[in-house]
Symmetry: C2
């Protein structure tokens, strides 16, 4: 070992990458954290940006700001274009190369369309801030289109714009459906002259037999009851067969729904394919028990990109706590190596429970068998999420926004931009123009 500090390169500023970086704060290493964005994103609340409850800045913090006091870490905004495990080098899209002694690949996952990429323009997913703002834009403009259609007496067009289909009954789909129903029934009340927003149909489509399949069946049932109470139509046990700009086909039946949101498939980051390791069906890297890449003890994968199996045979879920734990585990392994211990401990996932929110004052919580739902679960969900939100300033604003929304049913970020110059009907290239 030379006297120069060993180099650690971390790809991805999500939970896994950031938690690994922070856990190495006192280590005699030089860390470079690479991310395509300039911010860490608190993904569990991304649906709130998509549904106009929070602003982008409320759930994102600049990576440089988070790490400014950590002198052994530097941030590089950029996109990784190649990995050379033999030379131990990472190449960026602008041609720069970074050598490493340890590498963590934590570039996460994005949404996938089960081989139907042609659905993507008609059914946006929710992984980045840009995704969330696009969803918000579509949802808010749909009501504008409906109002316009109604003003000229076109009821068919109006109803198509007032039908919202969410594909995928996992936590994200449930959150979106519950919040959309709330917006239609409460937030927009009284604001239109030709339509009644409360007549909007919000459909949640799940291919499997029940929503929130990762929860115990009784909590799925309670979630379903709470969703129905909010006015959401639950369509379970059959997948969508096709999606286009006018609606979708399911069970042979065609439904006119101008707004379809995607909360179903997930595909791992394409960087996984550059590691030469076996991948699972979703493209995740099948790592060794210590999260290293087989044959490369100096290369690790963590977070949504890693396929890890628990002792009971179940996969570690793609959730924030798992990503944080994996990131911290990789840091511990690197510290062990620095201390001369070559034997590394296997990663063991600590499952503290499972939460999902449904809408205003409705949620389900499963704390290792201790299950509850409804108002108490919602408060628990709120406290947990605000507590874990990075940065005191954001926590304060998010709480203020929620308190405001709670008392008034209003949502503070109901602003359309990135499309404000193209109002309904003005852009013939927009397949959603009326």
């Amino acid at each position: 070992m030379t006297t120069a500090a060993l180099k650690v390169v971390v790809i991805g500023g999500g939970f896994a990458g950031l938690w690994c970086t922070r856990a190495l704060a006192r280590a005699p290493v030089e860390i470079t954290l690479i991310d395509r964005a300039n911010h860490h994103l608190f993904q569990p609340l991304l649906y709130q940006v998509a549904t106009a409850g929070l602003s982008a800045g409320d759930i994102a913090a600049p990576l440089r700001q988070i790490l400014s006091a950590q002198r052994n870490a530097s941030v590089r905004m950029g996109e990784v274009s190649a990995l050379d495990l033999a030379q131990r080098e990472v190449t960026l899209a602008d041609g720069a190369t970074l050598g490493y002694d340890f590498l963590l690949v934590a570039s996460g996952a994005t949404h996938a369309y089960f081989g139907h990429d042609e659905w993507a323009p008609h059914a946006p997913g929710l992984k980045t801030l840009d995704d969330a703002l696009e969803m918000r834009r579509r949802v808010l403009l749909a009501f504008e289109h409906a109002e316009t259609a109604a003003s000229r007496g076109d009821e068919r067009e109006r109803d198509a714009w007032l039908t919202f289909a969410i594909v995928g009954g996992g936590p994200t789909g449930v959150e979106l459906a519950g919040t959309l129903a709330e917006i239609a029934r409460h937030t927009l009340r009284g604001e239109f002259r030709h339509i009644d927003p409360a007549r909007a149909r919000v459909q949640l489509i799940e291919a499997g037999p029940r929503v929130l399949a990762s929860f115990p069946p009784e909590l799925s049932e309670r979630a379903a009851a709470q969703l129905r109470g909010l006015g959401v139509e639950l369509l379970t046990a059959a997948p969508v067969q096709s999606i286009d700009g006018e609606g979708y086909l399911r069970g042979g039946e065609r439904v006119a729904a101008k707004t379809v949101l995607w909360a179903a498939g997930v595909a791992a980051s394409p960087l996984g394919r550059l590691l030469g390791a076996p991948l699972d069906r979703a493209g995740r890297v099948q790592v060794a028990p210590d999260l290293s890449v087989p044959g490369h003890p100096e290369v690790f994968v963590a977070g949504d990109l890693a396929a890890v199996t628990q002792p009971d045979g179940k996969p570690v879920p793609g959730v924030a706590p798992a990503a944080k734990q994996m990131g911290a585990h990789v840091a511990r392994t690197i510290l062990d190596r620095l201390a001369g211990r070559s034997q590394s401990a296997p990663f063991a996932y600590q499952d503290y429970g499972n939460l999902a929110t449904i809408g205003r004052m409705a949620a389900v919580v499963d704390l290792r068998g201790f299950k509850f739902s409804g108002l108490l679960a919602w408060w628990f969900w709120l406290a947990a999420h605000v507590f874990f939100l990075i940065g005191f300033r954001n926590r304060l604003t998010v709480l203020t926004n929620w308190a405001w929304a709670y008392w008034t049913y209003q949502r503070h970020a109901r602003v359309v931009f990135g499309g404000a110059k193209a109002p309904p009907g003005s852009n013939p290239a927009d397949p959603r123009s009326v």
Copy 2:
């Protein structure tokens, strides 16, 4: 007069259009407010969105929400494509037509490049939320580019990315320059490893002899002193001669500045040309003393689109209070007509004073001859702006954000999106790629 309510069409949901609409709340008319965006924008604070101090939602409120309780008003999101004054009809881009008995055209102004539209891609202006988010993106990414250039030892490139030129020494230019200097010296301190953001050059270019030319000379001087105190370079008395992606030319000298922001020319909305009335050089409509279009007593123009001269020969300035007063005046004229009074009063501008902020705790205030500057002026400016910000919720958040920024020097909206997928160097089509 028939028993059906008379129809009022208002084009533009800015200060003029919105204030006219609200002032007609109790009138027996049917008002349709048309806007391209779904929100009213508090333009005086737009520079705070551009400089990452506020989120878009903090200074924008949905027009539907503002007007939801006003039963005689409806909102139509859309773009006006034609005006037929003879038929009294407004045509929208989607083909819809709206008849009117009274029409207010209040579609405002946008930035203009003095006949040099080729500068537009290299020097974005600041009129809409999209403009502000583009400015924010460029400013934040410039520091990322500088860091990358410095990390490979390219000092020339680094310095070009660390040079920010703001063209136009009016209130917007002064606000942008002061805030940018503050960001470079304080907000970003300690966050980079290869550059010192405090070494960034912030240049304010003004063609005339002094900044804030609409203020008394002694306040211009104090503003200049405060700007210099913040580290801004003042370049007065000569205009820019050309702007491209690498910098600008001025006085025959070429300066490498990768980020140029435009705060100079203003051009009135093109809708003014559809009225058949004489226009001034900036494209504003030369209205009759009651703000009507000559020959069309039922058609009015208000706000930045109207060219109105005060008794002393000076033009009414293009500021928010003037637009509000004009909108309210048009409403009073319409009420007079409804009451059978055909004689309408001339518009008289009430000038309550002139404020401009410069940066943290620095501003200038001119209240009809009572002039002050510095800390007291800044508190006055803050109070006035927060007071006039529409919607209690926004006022609260904006105050919270300011208090936070004040104590910590941090800015809460430092998030790049709409470009987060295209980090430095990854997009060869981006002329700003390193």
